[in-house]
Symmetry: C2
Subunit: 162 residues, 2 copies
DNA sequence: TATTGTTATACTCTATAACTATA
DNA sequence: TATAGTTATAGAGTATAACAATA
């Protein structure tokens, strides 16, 4: 509800926002809205600094997962990251072409393919993980270490089953 | 680090993940990763329950913003929600066609158009805001009221300037 | 000269159906 | 019969360039 205004105030029309910024107080009461905005803020920094590695977020996630889960299959990557199988194919092919990963026959399932990082892939993801750790710290610089831990714990409470 | 295993255990190869679920501990140390996962979790519930209103997240945001900022312009919506102007055009047109919003000449800028909710739009967003409030509570049901407040405050600390 | 709203368009992301090889 | 990986394709989301009308 608009406050009463002096008739002589130059620009003062009811029903017309007076500044560029709109009132976002209602949207800001929602976890979904805030989580997306925070993600977008981090994403911006991520994109800037990871361009040097030629890695998008999903590429980074896949390589990092393979670094700590050697031999994982496409299906496992898909279900872990909520990617649809058809959308992972070209991504995996591109990283294979770049010499970052290798496809090896799966030891006990002829349908599946075990994915492994090459030495080049190992080195790249090692550097990339360091850069992401830095970038994350910068992107959340207004949080104390304690607050950052709390934030992550609460986010996981929203999306993790357990 | 894998536990030692009985030689007779059927499937046990080093370098091969033994379960479907991969080790995501590294990814889970990042705010960006967790914020996106949490957002996706809320988004799923949002999509389910808001389909009845024919509203996507961006539609809801626009209508809610107009409910509390009557007469706002496309440009203001765009800068507030980080939408590019060309991408808002068809969205606004659709809501106009549905009779949810009205375009009125801007009182003191002939280039701009003031956007207003119609009575139908007012009623729809009023119901929709109630539903979103409920759905948000359900989607973050594992959080106490206190934790939910904390989560939102910390997320805003990541993306809001101030 | 700059800004608002718009058109056309391209690029990326996400989703569905259907196929093959293997289980 | 079901699953892993793949192909082709469609749809949604996001991006840039350029224009008319107004400031």
């Amino acid at each position: 509800m608009p406050a009463t205004r002096n008739k002589n105030t130059p620009v003062s029309h009811a029903q017309v926002p007076r500044s560029d910024r709109l009132d976002t107080r209602v949207l800001e009461t929602f976890v979904g809205y805030n989580a997306r905005r925070a993600w977008l803020a981090v994403t911006e920094v991520f994109a800037e600094r990871m361009a040097a590695y030629g890695l998008k977020q999903v590429d980074f996630s896949v390589l990092s997962l393979l670094a700590h889960n050697p031999g994982a299959t496409s299906r496992q990557l898909c279900s872990t990251l909520d990617i649809l199988p058809p959308n992972l194919v070209s991504l995996i092919a591109a990283m294979d072409s770049r010499g970052l990963i290798e496809r090896r026959p799966h030891p006990h399932d002829g349908r599946a393919i075990g994915l492994h990082l090459t030495p080049a892939g190992e080195e790249l993801i090692h550097e990339a993980e360091r850069t992401v750790t830095e970038l994350e710290a910068d992107a959340s610089a207004r949080l104390t270490a304690r607050e950052r831990e709390t934030l992550i714990r609460l986010l996981q409470k929203v999306y993790l089953p357990s």
